[in-house]
């Protein structure tokens, strides 16, 4: 499930959740055909300007359609059953998918980083998710499918991008500054102290885009969740409250997962002497 898909899906779900005045207008097959007809514009530009992205664009649209159809069908079942265990299982599956995507996106060996990353994502997502469902919208059932799945997906989708940036920056900077890192160890630094400059740089790189997004939200674009809530028939002020809450939840989740991912990853990517194990990088035989 990619980030955009999650956002869109989440927007629609939250829209349904917040619906108070009227139901969302369903899209007929003819309407969906009209939506696909809109593809003529980008595809025509790609062909006309010989951009060379025709195949990629078509494959992407097909993938998106199949993925969302599959997720839609599955979610319908999950929503109908609304079983807390099943809902928790779905969230765990989303975390596992995000986990592998992040490890791959960082060019690290999945087997070496997946476990610490999984626990970082689990903790970093669970806390803002529990606060959102339990304290902000105050649902009696914490694992209510209608809330926990879209909100969890939104938090996770944003963590995914931030974690890739953070983890990549961390390992890039430590490889570049390995002599300085070794010097810190030789000067008596504990591992966390020696890693501190690299952790700080990585966390800054990971959080900067989220902070920039928060600052421009509403001015540059109406975000997916707010759009979904409005389409769901809620008053704009309700939609705005949802949007503010979700942005803070995303920020909280992003900061937690980045911090925890770097912290936990240090336990499995450095040996007992505090030395970086280069075997974690793909394409190296050490």
């Amino acid at each position: 499930m990619n980030g955009a898909g999650v956002m869109q899906e989440a927007g629609e779900m939250a829209g349904q959740a917040a619906a108070v005045s009227h139901e969302v207008a369903d899209i007929s097959p003819l309407g969906m055909t009209a939506a696909y007809l809109l593809l003529i514009i980008p595809l025509a530009i790609i062909l006309w300007k010989r951009i060379g992205l025709l195949r990629g664009a078509i494959v992407s649209v097909l993938r998106m359609s199949v993925q969302l159809l599959f997720v839609g069908l599955y979610l319908q079942v999950i929503f109908r059953l609304n079983n807390p265990w099943l809902n928790a299982g779905w969230v765990l599956l989303m975390i596992a998918v995000a986990d592998v995507s992040i490890a791959r996106g960082c060019d690290l060996r999945v087997g070496r980083i997946a476990l610490p990353l999984f626990f970082a994502l689990l903790t970093g997502t669970a806390i803002p998710l529990a606060v959102f469902v339990g304290l902000i919208v105050r649902r009696p059932m914490l694992l209510d499918a209608q809330y926990v799945i879209p909100i969890g997906g939104m938090i996770l989708g944003n963590c995914l991008r931030a974690d890739i940036v953070g983890i990549r920056t961390f390992f890039d900077s430590i490889r570049k500054g390995e002599k300085a890192y070794a010097n810190s160890l030789a000067q008596g630094a504990g591992q966390a102290e020696a890693l501190e400059p690299y952790t700080r740089e990585a966390t800054r790189a990971a959080l900067a885009p989220t902070i920039a997004t928060i600052a421009t939200i509403g001015l540059v674009a109406l975000p997916g969740m707010m759009t979904g809530v409005i389409l769901g028939g809620a008053a704009p002020m309700t939609a705005i409250k949802y949007q503010i809450a979700i942005m803070i939840a995303i920020f909280s989740g992003t900061a937690s997962t980045v911090y925890l991912a770097l912290r936990f990853a240090a336990n499995t990517t450095f040996n007992d002497y505090g030395l970086l194990d280069h075997g974690i990088f793909k394409g190296r035989d050490e």
């Binding site: 010097n183 030789a186 630094a189 002497y273 030395l275």
Partner: protein, 232 residues
């Protein structure tokens, strides 16, 4: 002399063996350095002199052999504590970012060095002895010359009051006057154990004795790479 015979050597290495990518670099190397000794580690390029220093610091994990610091074996558990007895100046020190003042203050901020924070008062005197001007403290560390970096790295290590110093070509980028200043400063500290790697003749005279590292079995050492457990 009685005290020396009853105290363990400052550094003891037994049958050290290091390989890089399956190729042996150091094989069956042993040495003993008593407390207060100044020893020069000599040998042709690529014989693994830097690797020996890095193994002592636990920055390179050997394939075989035992290293003891003050009689205590260097292991994955003891390495963190034993590093607090060692001071290291690399051949081309990477001082990290920031101004020289921050570079000097940074190690004193580490938890393990908290009791040494007052040593910052010695900076002025050390700058003078190392022929460095006071205003060097305000310069960016990255903008220093090679010789200035070496002397700042040495100054920083001296502030940590380590009983054992490991110096890798500490005078390679120094002019004649600076070399003499560094040599005099180190020679004036009889209590410190110093193991240094150097090609300088002056350094040989400053040392109590010299140990020749035999040529590497295949004489094909990749520079600065560690054996097992990573590359630093």
């Amino acid at each position: 002399m009685t005290s020396i015979t009853h105290t363990p050597p400052a550094i003891e290495i037994e049958n050290l063996a290091v390989t890089f990518a399956g190729k042996p670099v150091i094989r069956d190397f042993s040495l003993r350095i008593q407390r207060g000794e100044k020893v020069l580690l000599a040998g042709a390029s690529g014989t693994g002199k830097t690797t020996v220093l890095r193994c002592i610091l636990g920055l390179c994990v050997p394939d075989a052999g035992i290293i003891r610091i003050d009689g205590e074996e260097l292991t994955r558990r003891s390495v963190w504590r034993l590093r607090h007895r060692l001071g290291y100046v690399a051949q081309e020190p990477d001082l990290g970012g920031g101004r020289v003042r921050e570079v000097i203050e940074r190690p004193l901020a580490y938890r393990a060095n908290a009791h040494l924070r007052k040593n910052i008062e010695r900076v002025g005197a050390l700058l003078e002895r190392l022929l460095l001007p006071d205003d060097v403290l305000g310069k960016q560390a990255g903008a220093l010359s090679g010789g200035e970096k070496q002397r700042i790295a040495l100054l920083s290590v001296l502030l940590l009051d380590r009983p054992i110093l490991l110096l890798d070509e500490p005078s390679s980028a120094l002019d004649k006057a600076a070399k003499e200043a560094v040599s005099e400063l180190l020679a004036s500290q009889p209590e410190r154990t110093i193991l240094s790697v150097s090609h300088e003749a002056a350094w040989a005279s400053f040392s109590d004795r010299s140990i020749e590292l035999p040529p590497a079995p295949n004489n094909n050492q990749p520079g600065g790479t560690s054996a097992r457990g990573g590359q630093l």
